[in-house]
């Protein structure tokens, strides 16, 4: 009897947990990771000679657990390898980034564990150099152990910004200010729900205490209205809850408005027709529930795959209960961080606001396109308007374009984000040379 083989895509907590549990069950595992090191976003590894970024006691224990479990036979780890998708024949295509070559695997199952991408609300100037996502800034900090030089403004919405501000203060390089659309400390009743989640509550309290102790300007119920380049600096216009505008000058802006599943171009969950692999998803790419849930969900997905490979249904009630607990924590946080005012609808932003950075398409371009006699559908907005058509494949704009188009044409069926991005592989750009250099095996 041949050993079943499973491809795990993504070396973050969900992928690592899935790989370990699969190997424990006697399955041969190929684990592919895009970066030169395992870890994912939360557990991003530092470069040689740099201490890992503090991730709390729970976090340190989780990482030790995940890497211990990985020391099993039957797990082959391939770093710097991108999963491009499943082709029509059911082959999983991998892009070996170091060698510049595409190869195909024919696993019996795939666990997709590609994590999350950040949601960044469009604002005039968000496309300027010096503006990054807050997670992007945090990744650079975790990798290098250093905070980039210059005055840094954190802005947007959600608990990640509070954590990042707390980490920067702890590293003695506080941001200039933390601009938050919500007003989290005005929701003590909603916040009581966090008492059911002592671990994240304790962590959040630590960051909030650091923010107050460090006298960091925490501009709650305030939004970034626009960012303008002034020489090498950035002038950021804020608007507070009373409608007052204020402009501050900084060197870098880190934006964040929440997280989305990173599932573009990736195969859907599938029971596996003959000749095609079973597909499961795990962690934030299935549902954004955070790092603790990712480990639970990795184990759950592995058990589901093992059961399905044996022809059994794969529901795990215990994992479902633990995930429901993590979901509750996320729901409480969402209530606590609810924006204090309704954000300006994307379609009412200034016409010059870039919606799709890759193709340089603006709010004005979308208004002109959608304002005809017949409202265009999602595919048409993409093909004629070139929205979500660029290299990022709509990861950062498709949801906003869909929302804005729906707002502009309430008379027409609302386009879906998926209509704009498409649902086909490749999941990321691949060079023609790499495909040409590929050695694809015959179909099985």
């Amino acid at each position: 009897m041949t050993v079943a083989s499973v491809l795990v895509v993504g070396g973050g907590p969900a992928g690592l947990a899935a790989a370990a549990r699969l190997a424990e069950s006697g399955v041969a595992v190929d684990l592919v990771e895009l970066r030169p090191a395992l870890g994912g976003a939360f557990h991003r590894r530092p470069i040689d000679g740099v201490a890992p970024w503090p991730v709390g006691r729970e976090g340190a224990k989780r990482w030790a657990r995940l890497t211990d479990d990985l020391r099993r036979p039957r797990i082959r780890i391939r770093l710097r390898t991108a999963f491009l998708g499943l082709d029509g024949s059911g082959a999983a295509l991998l892009d070996d980034l170091a060698a510049g070559r595409v190869e195909a695997l024919r696993p019996d199952a795939i666990v997709v564990a590609t994590g999350a991408v950040e949601r960044v609300r469009p604002r005039p100037g968000w496309e300027l150099p010096g503006v990054s996502t807050a997670g992007g800034l945090q990744m650079a900090m975790k990798e290098t152990g250093r905070i980039p030089e210059g005055r840094i403004l954190l802005a947007g919405n959600g608990p990640l910004l509070v954590a990042l501000a707390g980490q920067m203060i702890a590293a003695d390089r506080p941001p200039v200010a933390l601009v938050e659309a919500g007003d989290p400390i005005r929701h003590p009743i909603a916040g009581l729900g966090l008492l059911a989640h002592p671990r994240p509550l304790l962590e959040a309290s630590g960051h909030v205490l650091r923010i107050f102790a460090g006298r960091l300007p925490w501009r709650r119920a305030t939004t970034v209205e626009r960012i303008e380049a002034v020489g090498t600096a950035l002038a950021v216009t804020l608007r507070d809850r009373a409608g007052r505008a204020e402009t501050i000058e900084v060197d870098r802006v880190a934006l964040h408005d929440g997280l989305l599943s990173n599932d573009h171009g990736l195969p859907e969950v599938d029971d596996g027709a003959p000749g095609r692999p079973i597909v499961a998803r795990a962690g934030d790419c299935r549902e954004v529930l955070g790092v603790a849930a990712a480990e639970i969900d990795g184990h759950r997905a592995a058990e589901e795959v093992v059961a399905r490979l044996a022809g059994a249904p794969g529901a795990d009630a215990a994992a479902a209960r633990r995930l429901a607990h993590e979901r509750h924590a996320q729901q409480v946080l969402a209530r606590v961080f609810a924006p204090a005012r309704l954000p300006v609808p994307v379609e009412r932003l200034p016409r010059e606001t870039v919606l799709c950075r890759c193709e340089g398409r603006t709010v004005g371009d979308l208004v002109d396109l959608v304002d005809g006699a017949d409202a265009p559908g999602g595919r048409e907005i993409k093909l004629s308007g070139r929205f979500a058509m660029g290299l990022c494949q709509g990861r950062f704009c498709a949801h906003w374009v869909a929302e804005a188009a729906a707002g502009l044409r309430p008379d027409a069926p609302a386009p879906l984000s998926g209509d704009l991005t498409g649902r086909r592989w490749p999941a990321r750009p691949v060079s023609v040379a790499a495909v040409v250099a590929s050695a694809l095996p015959p179909e099985r």
Partner: protein
Amino acid sequence: MSAPTILWNGRPVPFRPGESIGTALGAAGVVAFGHDPAGRATRWFCGVGACQSCLVRVGDRLVEACLTPASDGLVVVSADREPEAAR
């Protein structure tokens, strides 16, 4: 021994072993990475290989600065420069 460097648009930029092209440029104060072939300004953005905003050219390939390790003597140019410039 002097610190290893990449050659960024003809100028030596030091990096620490294991660092990506993107964080090495960031540490050297390079915020604007030039332009991509579509003419959009390139820069560090998502840090996770998803946004394609940090494309740079290494040889005849466009690569994400945030994903690609720096190596000593590596020739890196803005994405809109000719491949010859990176040789």
